[in-house]
């Protein structure tokens, strides 16, 4: 459904744009119908830039992003199918207006003069398990972060979308409400919706997604079925990330020494090798590349 092929984003930096900074480097993956794919990376990995390129909010420098085989072109036709929800629920609402204005905007742009609008809103709210009395006609600051994020998902559902780009949508929520929003995203699958879940939190990505893409400095280092990527991580970076995740029932172990790598980082050539069916890893040559120097992501970031 959604396919990224060699997508690259280069920013010009410095006075007169003399220098360049590659934020996203030849990234290719796809999201199918009714599939949740998580895009995992630390800050500066380019994960949000990828989300914004898919949403047409920033143009890509090279590569192609296609939706159902058609190149992505920002505009009403595309946004009927693809919508986004962002990290900060409070920044996602214009503080001057009431929260349900996000629905009215959809109505004005897409459904002027629809008679059963109120019923549609109620249905969308029911799908995100909110009751109209709780959330309608209120200002954003009167609602909780979880309610606000769910309202935004409801807004996307009003459009009958096929793909939702969810960029860190739970990172500002409390633990007790976070999991409900995640479950909601997972439930969207049953409606045939694809979800691209962008996160820095490995445990959340693991909980939700069928497939996982791990990014480092703009390039994919490892991707594939979540069970394979998390169950048997191949790339030293993935292993290091996993070892750093704080767990509830186990103390931090020290990471596998990152320099004894099975696969070596090609420095973002974009080339991925299929190590086993449904499991890809960045590497120059699959067998016999032991001991190649890998610069570990230093703790200083």
């Amino acid at each position: 459904m959604l396919r990224l092929d060699g997508v690259t984003k280069v920013y010009k930096v410095g006075a007169f744009g003399g220098k360049t900074m590659t934020a996203v480097d030849r990234v290719s993956f796809d999201v199918g119908i009714g599939e949740v794919v998580s895009l995992i990376g630390e800050s500066g990995s380019g994960k949000s830039t990828i989300g914004r390129m898919i949403l047409g909010l920033v143009p890509s420098t090279a590569g192609s992003i296609t939706f159902d085989g058609v190149a992505v072109k920002p505009g009403k036709a595309y946004y009927r199918n693809v919508q986004g929800v962002f990290q900060d629920p409070f920044s996602s609402y214009n503080p001057v207006f009431k929260a349900d204005r996000v629905f009215q905007m959809i109505r004005q742009e897409y459904f002027p003069g629809v008679a059963d609008w109120d019923e549609r809103v109620e249905a969308a709210l029911a799908a995100v398990r909110l009751s109209p009395g709780q959330v309608l006609h209120k200002f954003p600051h009167q609602l909780s972060g979880g309610q606000l994020q769910r309202l935004l998902i409801a807004r996307a559902l009003l459009l009958d979308i096929k793909l939702l780009v969810a960029d860190e949508i739970t990172s500002m929520l409390d633990a007790s409400t976070r999991i409900d929003v995640l479950n909601l995203l997972a439930d969207l699958k049953s409606r045939g919706l694809g979800v691209l879940y962008i996160t820095h939190d490995l445990s959340l990505g693991n909980y939700l997604a069928e497939r996982t893409v791990v990014l480092r400095r703009g390039a994919v280092v490892e991707m594939g079925l979540t069970d394979l990527v998390f169950g048997g991580p191949l790339h030293p970076y993935t292993r290091q990330l996993l070892s750093a995740v704080p767990r509830l029932h186990a103390a931090w172990e020290d990471a596998d020494p990152v320099d004894t790598c099975l696969y070596h980082d090609k420095g973002g050539s974009g080339g991925l090798l299929e190590a086993e069916p449904g499991h890809f890893v960045a590497c120059a040559a699959l067998p016999g590349c032991r001991g190649a120097a890998v610069s570990p992501a230093s703790p200083s970031g």
Binding site: E42, A175, L204
Partner: protein
């Protein structure tokens, strides 16, 4: 006992009235103990941390006492607190990454800061401490902007513990960091305790899995009150308060998949602290609530070092 807090009440003055952000919390921290303070936003954990150091203009000390090393802290009196700050009790604030003056080189800033506290800078000691958090001594000749987020965070940690305070309060200092940086910072904190730079520590975070990694005991707060306090392992493996239990059950871990085990959150939301309900504050969201919960449950020691404020515990 390093720190003893007794019935502490701190209210916020707002336009709409007083928000009872901290409403009668009692606990103690032993020498050499790291207490993890966890809870959701608005539970009073940051207020607690702040009130041990400096109340801002909107905060009011409404009752209760704080004792540090047998001495009563004059927490409501900004001027009289001054001799204690840095020397006895120190804070690493939530946004400490931006707490450093961008126009001063770090070394110079540290010197000025110490002079303002009437202490002379011991360069060798400072460098030893930098080494402890794996910062090169060259950082002293750099500007804050040249450091990454994790490095700044560790620099602030070094600065706030230079005078070997008895108690260090670290408020959400890892929440803006990447996982690998988070691990390094948290371990450096534990290292400070191990080397005796600080005697005891309160580590405030919303992330229970993280606090479990370094804390000796964990205190869970809810709506301005203590819900449960116990050794870290007990909180995670055998929590008694229904809130703690539900909170722990809502945390996805690596290995837990939606398809295999569907986790669930806690329905409802915390009560408004402008006009908190009587009785147990978790009552409305609690599946175990019964008539007795209309009375406020005291925080009882159900087993050694395990305090629970629940009638069903």
């Amino acid at each position: 006992m390093s720190l003893t807090v007794n019935g502490l009440q701190v209210y916020y003055r707002t336009l709409k009235g007083e928000v009872k952000a901290l409403d009668g919390v009692s606990f103690s921290v032993r020498d050499g103990e790291i207490l993890g303070l966890a809870g959701e936003s608005g539970c009073g954990k940051t207020t607690l941390g702040k009130s041990l150091i400096r109340m801002d203009g909107r905060m009011r000390h409404a009752g209760g006492t704080v004792e540090l090393d047998g001495e009563r802290l004059p927490i409501a009196d900004d001027a009289r607190m001054n001799p204690y700050r840095f020397h006895k009790v120190s804070l690493i604030p939530q946004y400490s990454m931006s707490a450093m003056n961008p126009t001063r080189k770090i070394g110079k800033m540290v010197g000025e800061l110490l002079r303002s506290r009437g202490v002379k800078l011991d360069r060798a000691d400072l460098e030893a401490r930098l080494a402890q958090v794996e910062l090169p001594r060259e950082v002293l000749d750099r500007y804050p902007i040249e450091l990454s987020g994790g490095m700044k965070q560790r620099m602030v940690m070094v600065i706030s513990t230079l005078l070997n305070p008895s108690l260090l309060v670290a408020d959400e200092i890892t929440s803006a960091l990447d996982v690998s940086t988070q691990k390094a910072v948290a371990r450096a904190l534990a290292g400070f305790r191990d080397t005796g730079f600080v005697k005891s520590m309160i580590f405030i975070t919303h992330d229970i899995s993280l606090t479990y990694q370094i804390a000796d005991s964990i205190m869970i707060m809810y709506a301005g009150k203590l819900a449960e306090k116990a050794p870290a392992r007990t909180i995670v493996t055998a929590p008694r308060h229904p809130y703690t239990r539900m909170l722990i059950d809502s945390l996805p871990e690596v290995g837990v998949r939606y398809g295999d085990k569907k986790l669930s959150g806690i329905p409802g939301s915390p009560p408004s602290l402008l006009d908190p309900p009587t009785g147990c504050r978790f009552r409305d969201r609690c599946p175990l609530a019964f008539d007795k919960c209309a009375e406020e449950p005291p925080a009882l020691e159900v087993e050694p070092d395990h305090f629970v404020a629940c009638w069903k515990a």
